[in-house]
């Protein structure tokens, strides 16, 4: 079987492992490297074939739950490699089809991208590892030995679950950057609380990233924009009511994106807790601000698009000024409205971002995002206050 990449047949991705060795807990690394080198030394011998360049700007480790999920990630990785040529290591546990003789199996795929205007194709590699449950303990070391040396390492723990925490933590310690997507991975009752608690205690030196934070960037931009002028900035101290409406979460979870946005406001504006209570699908926290008190409310709303995340934010001051940002899922745009002028409204597009696009953005950031980390800690504390 061959892998198609932008309509070109460029590599190989056999259904059967092309490199699998009978040792109990590890694949043969030399064999994998030989296989990759062979591809680059001897590109497919076809008339008119464009020469290849092997390129890597980072390593990306992906932990997924099973083969199906691994297959869905294939096009995502291809898109990521288009922007960040990288070595991707994709690992999952597999119950069936792996015998005791081959507890780890590896597939290698090389994906190449033609450059606009001709020139050599830029190629990067995906190594997929299927691991039997008995060999799972050996997976972290195997993954680490397959990394391209001297390049940044990102770990994307796609289905963040309590059960996989130990392995994710160990890999994150080696990788330096752990990427999660809590908005989509927290699906069951109580998961928000337990996952926030775990991620709050990541090993020292590990940068945490959350794709949910990226989805909030447009919201943060438009909210911040209300207060860019010096005159409007003084109104920040005068805020007395903030409401965040978000699409309902599975189970009885507080909507995580709204929680994170609230954490951002709390951490940036220095709001201290006075009281917290839950009323059905609304969570209300009273906070002490430099200018008085503010009521911060989060409402879980039924919406046609459960993955929509935050739907609306409104901010009101004691003096009667109000600011709002509302998402229109149908037109994929956001409208911000400011009552201080002539009731100005401003519309900007907010097209849905795919997973690849968000990963690409994360891989472009070199290190810890301190504002996110503070917002995340404040969100965790806020969630705890509702217990």
């Amino acid at each position: 079987m061959t892998a198609n990449w932008k309509g070109r047949t460029v590599g190989m991705n056999p259904p059967e492992p092309i490199v699998n060795l009978g040792t109990p807990t590890s694949v043969n690394l030399d064999a994998i490297m030989r296989e990759l080198s062979a591809f680059h030394i001897a590109p497919p011998d076809r008339a008119g074939e464009i020469p290849l360049i092997r390129a890597s700007s980072c390593n990306l480790i992906l932990i997924v739950s099973d083969r199906n999920e691994a297959e869905t990630m294939s096009p995502v990785l291809a898109d990521v490699a288009e922007w960040h040529p990288c070595r991707s290591l994709l690992a999952f546990r597999q119950q069936d089809g792996i015998t005791g003789q081959m507890p780890m199996q590896a597939w290698i795929r090389v994906q190449c991208r033609p450059q606009p205007g001709g020139g050599p194709q830029v190629c990067s590699e995906v190594i997929t590892l299927a691991v039997s449950p008995e060999a799972a303990a050996g997976l972290p070391n195997t993954l680490l030995s397959l990394l391209m040396p001297d390049l940044p390492v990102f770990l994307y723990w796609r289905s963040a679950k309590d059960a996989g925490w130990n392995m994710a933590r160990d890999l994150a310690r080696a990788a330096g950057t752990l990427i999660v997507d809590l908005q989509t991975s927290l699906r069951h009752e109580g998961e928000v609380r337990s996952m926030l608690a775990l991620l709050e205690h990541l090993p020292q030196g590990v940068a945490l990233r959350d794709l949910s934070w990226q989805r909030l960037t447009a919201w943060r931009d438009l909210i911040a924009q209300f207060f860019d002028s010096r005159t409007a900035r003084s109104l920040l101290q005068d805020l007395d009511k903030v409401e965040i409406r978000a699409s309902s979460s599975p189970g009885e979870n507080i909507p995580y994106p709204a929680l994170l946005l609230a954490g951002w406001l709390i951490s940036r504006l220095g709001w201290n807790e006075i009281s917290a209570q839950r009323k059905g699908t609304t969570w209300i926290s009273r906070r002490l601000t430099p200018g008085g008190e503010v009521q911060l409310g989060i409402t879980s709303a039924e919406s046609g698009t459960p993955e929509a995340g935050v739907l609306a934010v409104s901010l009101k001051t004691r003096g009667g000024a109000s600011f709002s940002v509302v998402f229109d899922p149908e037109n994929e745009c956001m409208t911000s409205a400011d009552s201080t002028g002539e009731g100005l409204t401003h519309k900007v597009p907010l097209p849905a971002k795919g997973e690849a696009e968000m990963l690409i953005a994360e891989l472009s950031l070199p290190d810890e995002d301190a504002v996110f980390r503070a917002a995340f800690s404040a969100a965790a504390a806020l969630e705890k206050s509702f217990q």
């Binding site: 700007s57 934070w213 924009q225 504006l269 400011d338 100005l344 900007v348």
Partner: protein, 509 residues
């Protein structure tokens, strides 16, 4: 709480200014329609402009506001972007058009009234940018009128800031540039003035500073000890097109060398600034210009070549001669090509020639800076090869933005054979992202009050002082007729001879 917006912290946030009004003189012109408004629209789409951002376009043309907006929308469509109806509507709501004569004080009184209305209704709070995109002949009059009607000065008792953006050309020689600077300085402080050179907004040009001063390995060899020469090329494969009237009066020297090319040269040659503050960077750039000895009029012939394109073929298509272009005199002596050898009299660059060339209707479009390194001091492999090539570091500005390093390797095999190879970095391959246009970057910088990428008065005058001898030599009564080169070539043969005299060659691009 300090003065900064606490919600603006964090690296993912868009850079976004406080609401302001951009008053554009020359609102119906090509620059406004093709560059400024599309750039502003893209900024609004990326959440870099606040809802209250307002454009007041001025022009002598009598136009209904709705028709003006429709025309702008159409231009954006033609540029390849189809504005989304709902987001365009809120953006267009902030676009206003005023027909008026720039010479009349009454026009400025009307501007004042409109600005006061925007402050009230759109929250622009006294923040204004006056963008001079009109004919350069009108610049001084507009500035004077802005000053006389109290639109220029920032006052402690009135809120907001005032800035003026002056498009190139800033003057047409040293004398006129000085005169314009004097008018500007009469009404604006230097920190309110943004003399724009869109080349400096290009991503790859900004990367020059990062490449030089963000990497430890290049700066130690960035000097006369290791560098043999530097070549800067800005080649265009198109002619003057519809700009014949403008170009007749400008020529390659004024159009490209006085601004774009000298700016590139300063970025390559400048010393590391102590910090990245606007004036620290600009101070170092001016020092470079002042270190280049201007030639006497007699010396010009020794170090410079000019040419004008004749008929020929470019990429297989027939091209007419410059003198046959629209709005060009049949006896024109204007240069469409210029090549100059500069030297910089300082410790770092003594005896290193900087060869620059620019032209229209050349073989291909290519802008690059090439650092050509000295050959190895000892010819270790002389029995195998007669000549080892120099290492070259090529910084490509456009197209295919990127960096290439040429070095020599041994070809595999029993024989000792050598081959030069390129190690390439390409922006497109590595980042693959849409690069913001130079105008997007510069307009936003101006709104945010960052003049780093704009030219200061002393820089503009130093550049004019440097090219003035060439202007005098090429336009004086004793000026020799301009040499002709075939369209589609790399310029007149004299340009090759300029380097051959020193046993060098232009890079083949």
């Amino acid at each position: 709480m300090d003065d900064a917006n606490p919600l603006r912290h964090g690296r993912r946030m868009s850079r976004s200014p406080a609401p302001c009004v951009m008053v554009i003189f020359g609102g119906s012109g090509d620059l406004t329609r093709r560059k400024l408004v599309p750039a502003l629209y893209r900024l609004s789409q990326t959440r870099s402009l606040p809802g209250g951002f307002t454009i007041l376009s001025l022009s002598r043309t009598d136009l209904a506001e709705e028709k003006y907006r429709d025309g702008l929308r159409q231009t954006i469509v033609e540029s390849g972007t189809t504005p989304d109806p709902s987001t365009w509507d809120t953006f267009a709501h902030g676009i206003h058009y005023l027909s008026g004569d720039y010479r009349l004080p009454a026009t400025y009184e009307r501007i004042k009234q409109l600005l006061a209305e925007y402050d009230l209704h759109r929250g622009t709070a006294g923040n204004r940018i006056f963008y001079l995109a009109a004919s350069p002949a009108d610049y001084a009059g507009i500035i004077q009128n802005l000053g006389d009607t109290n639109l220029a000065r920032e006052r402690e008792d009135a809120p907001g800031w005032r800035r003026v953006v002056v498009e190139k050309p800033f003057g047409r020689d040293l004398e006129s540039a000085r005169a314009l600077n004097q008018v500007v300085e009469r009404y604006f402080h230097e920190d309110q003035v943004y003399r724009i050179d869109h080349y400096l907004g290009k991503e790859t040009v900004q990367n020059l500073l990062v490449f030089r001063f963000g990497n430890g390995i290049f700066e130690p060899i960035w000097n006369r000890r290791y560098v043999d020469s530097i070549q800067i090329t800005a080649a265009e494969s198109i002619g003057v097109g519809t700009r014949g009237a403008y170009y007749e009066d400008a020529g390659a020297l004024r159009d490209m060398i006085q601004n774009h090319i000298l700016q590139l040269l300063t970025l390559v040659a400048m010393e590391p600034p102590p910090d990245f503050a606007p004036n620290s960077v600009r101070d170092e750039k001016v020092k470079v210009l002042r270190s280049i000895p201007p030639p006497s009029v007699e010396e010009v012939e020794q170090i410079a070549v000019r040419g004008q394109y004749g008929p020929g073929f470019i990429m297989g298509k027939a091209a007419v001669a410059y003198r046959q272009e629209k709005n060009v005199s049949a006896e024109s002596n204007t240069e469409t090509f210029a090549a100059i050898r500069f030297t910089i009299d300082n410790w770092r660059w003594a005896d290193v020639p900087f060869y620059v060339r620019t032209g229209k209707n050349l073989a291909k479009q290519a802008t690059e800076i090439a650092i050509l390194f000295r050959r190895t001091p000892h010819r270790l492999f002389r029995q195998y090869t007669t000549e080892m090539v120099s290492n070259v570091l090529a910084l490509r500005i456009q197209p295919d933005e990127g960096i290439a390093l040429k070095f020599v390797v041994k070809q595999p095999g029993q024989a000792m054979s050598f081959q030069p190879v390129n190690m390439e970095f390409q922006y497109g391959s590595t980042f693959g992202m849409h690069l913001a246009s130079a105008y997007e970057r510069l307009l936003l910088d101006c709104m945010l009050g960052d003049p780093t990428l704009f030219n200061r008065a002393d820089s503009v005058e130093s550049a004019w002082a440097l090219v003035q001898p060439f202007i005098d030599a090429w336009t004086g009564p004793l000026a020799a007729p301009v040499a002709t080169y075939a369209s589609g070539s790399w310029g007149p043969p004299e340009a090759d001879e300029l380097l051959e005299r020193e046993h060098r060659r232009w890079r083949f691009l």
